[in-house]
C-alpha cells in the first residue's frame, strides 16, 4: 500500500479548474519529485493534500486513512508535514519557539527534547541562533528553520515546497544534503520544485505537471531531455 494515494483529484478556484484528474502515489522509502512551471498547479496540489483547500471531487489517502475531509491541524497529527513555499516562519517568535510550536500535536510533545536535539544536529546554525527572532534570520536560515519546524512534528512524510527558491547555490546544496539525511532517517520525502535538474537527480520517482494535469511520470532516469522539456513547457 502506498503511503500517500491521490485519486482523480479535481480542484477549482471559483470557476477556474486548477487541478484536473490528478492521480499520483508516493511509496514508502522514496523521494518523489513533483515538477512544473509557475502556475502549473503544484501549490494548489500541496494545499489540497495538507488540508488548506478542499477538492471538488477525488480522494486523498494517507497511510490508508482518508484525509481529504480533514482540516490541516488533523492531518499534521497523522504524520504528514508540509514545509511551505516562502518558508512562512513565525517572525515574531524566537527560533526556539518556532521549533517548539512545530511539536504542537500531543503525540509530538512527549518527544520534543529528543526532536529538538535531532534538528540542532541537522542544522547547528539554528542552535546558535535559537534565542533570536525568526525575522532576523537570513533566507537560508529561515528555510532551515521551516524544515526543522516541520521535523518537530515527527512526520512520516514530509513535503518540501520550493525548497531552493531564492537561495544561493551553496545553500541549496546544503539543504539538499539535509533532505537526503532526512530520507535516511526513514521519512518519505516529496519535493515540489521549479529547479528541474537537481530535483530529478535526487528523486526516485517524478511527476511533471502542466496546466493542472500530469504530463509525465516515471523514474527520472528513464526520462529523455526531450520528454521533460515537452512536459514542462508544453513545447
Amino acid at each position: 500500500m502506498a503511503m500517500l494515494e491521490v485519486k482523480n483529484l479535481n480542484v477549482y478556484y471559483g470557476g477556474f479548474q486548477a487541478l484536473s484528474d490528478i492521480t499520483l502515489s508516493v511509496e514508502r522509502d522514496q523521494i518523489v519529485s513533483i515538477l512544473g512551471s509557475n502556475g502549473a498547479g503544484k501549490s494548489t496540489l500541496l494545499k489540497t493534500i495538507s488540508g488548506l483547500l478542499k477538492p471538488s471531487t477525488g480522494s486523498i489517502h494517507f497511510n490508508g486513512e482518508k484525509i481529504d475531509p480533514l482540516g490541516p491541524h488533523d492531518i499534521v497529527k497523522l504524520g504528514l508535514a508540509l514545509v511551505p513555499e516562502g518558508r512562512k516562519i513565525f517572525s515574531t517568535l524566537t527560533v526556539l519557539e518556532n521549533l517548539l510550536i512545530g511539536s504542537y500535536s500531543p503525540g509530538a510533545r512527549r518527544t520534543k527534547d529528543e526532536q529538538l536535539e535531532n534538528v540542532f544536529e541537522l542544522f547547528p546554525r539554528l542552535a546558535e541562533r535559537k534565542g533570536q527572532l525568526g525575522s532576523t534570520l537570513s533566507g537560508g536560515e529561515q528555510q532551515m528553520l521551516a524544515i526543522g519546524r516541520a521535523l518537530m512534528s515527527q512526520p512520516r512524510l514530509i513535503i518540501f515546497d520550493e525548497i531552493s527558491l531564492g537561495l544561493s547555490p551553496v545553500m541549496v546544496k546544503h539543504l539538499y544534503h539535509a533532505v537526503n539525511r532526512i530520507k535516511q532517517k526513514g521519512m518519505v520525502v516529496v519535493l515540489v520544485e521549479q529547479d528541474v535538474k537537481r530535483s530529478l537527480k535526487t528523486a526516485d520517482f517524478a511527476y511533471i505537471l502542466q496546466e493542472g494535469k500530469i504530463r509525465l511520470k516515471g523514474n527520472p532516469k528513464d526520462f529523455t531531455e526531450e520528454e521533460v522539456k515537452k512536459a514542462y513547457f508544453g513545447l
Binding site: 488548506l52 490541516p72 510550536i101 504542537y104
Partner: protein, 287 residues
Amino acid sequence: MLTSLEPLINGILLGGLYAVIGIGLSMIFGIMRQVNLAHGELMILASYFSLVFLQLLGIHPLVTFLFVLPAIFILGYLIQTFLFNWVLEKGMEPYLMISFGLSIILQNAMLLLFTPDARTLQTSLAIKSINVFNLFYVPVIYLVDFVVGFLVLGLLHLIMKKTYLGWAIRAASDNLTAARLMGINPKRVYALAMGIAVITAAISGVLVGMTFTFYPHSGTQYLIIAFGVVIIGGLGSLPGTFLGGLILGVSQLVGGRIIGPGLQLLSGYIILLIVLTIRPQGILGRK
C-alpha cells in the same frame, strides 16, 4: 512640596488596575484583529458573580476568584465558540455588532437580576490607608489593585512565552496558514484566548468592585478606560498595556489635582489625544 507626590503614587497604583482592565481587549485585538465591545459588561458581570458568592458564603472578594474565574472562563470560551468564531472571516463589522448586542443583553440582564442599585464588594481593605512619611496617605485597596494587576500581567506574560497555548496564540496571530500547518486549530485557540481574556476582565471587575461602586451599566465606563489604556500603550502589546495603564492613571490623578477633580477624566483623555496625534499606533505598538 512632597505631598504633590500623592497623586503620582496613587495614579501609578490605579494604573496597575487600569492595565488589567485593558489587557483583555488588547489581547483579543492582537490575536484576532477584532474589538470586543462587551468587554466592560463581562467585567461587571464578574463583579456581580463575586457579589453573589460573597453574600452566599460570606467569603472575602479575593477568595471569590475561586468560583468566579472558572465560571467566566467557560462563559468566554462558549461566547467565542458559538458567537464570534462564526464571523471571524467576515471583517470587523459583524464582530463589532455581535459584541455590541452582547453588551446590551448583558447590561439589561444584570439590570433585571440585580436592580439598578449601586453595589460594592465590601472589605475592610477599602477603608484602610497607609501613612507615607507623614506626608500623605495611600489607600491600601489601591496597593492591592496594583499588586494583583502586576501579577496578572506577569502571569499572562509567562503563559505567552512558556506554554504551548501561548506559542499557539502568538503563532496564530503571526501567520495563520503556517499555524494551521503546525497542527493548531485556530478556532479552538481563539476560544481559549477569549477564555483567558475574560478571566483578566473578571479579575479587574472584582478589583473595581472592591475599590469603587458599580451598577449594571458601569461596563461602558470601563470599556472607555480600556480603550484609553490600549490606545496609549499600543494595541496588542503587553508591556504597552501596562505602560498605558500607568500613564492613564497618573494623568487622571495628577491632572485632577492640577485642574480640579471634576476634570480628572478630561485630563486623561487629553493625554490620549496627544498620544494619538504624535504616535497613532500607541507608545509600544507596532504599525
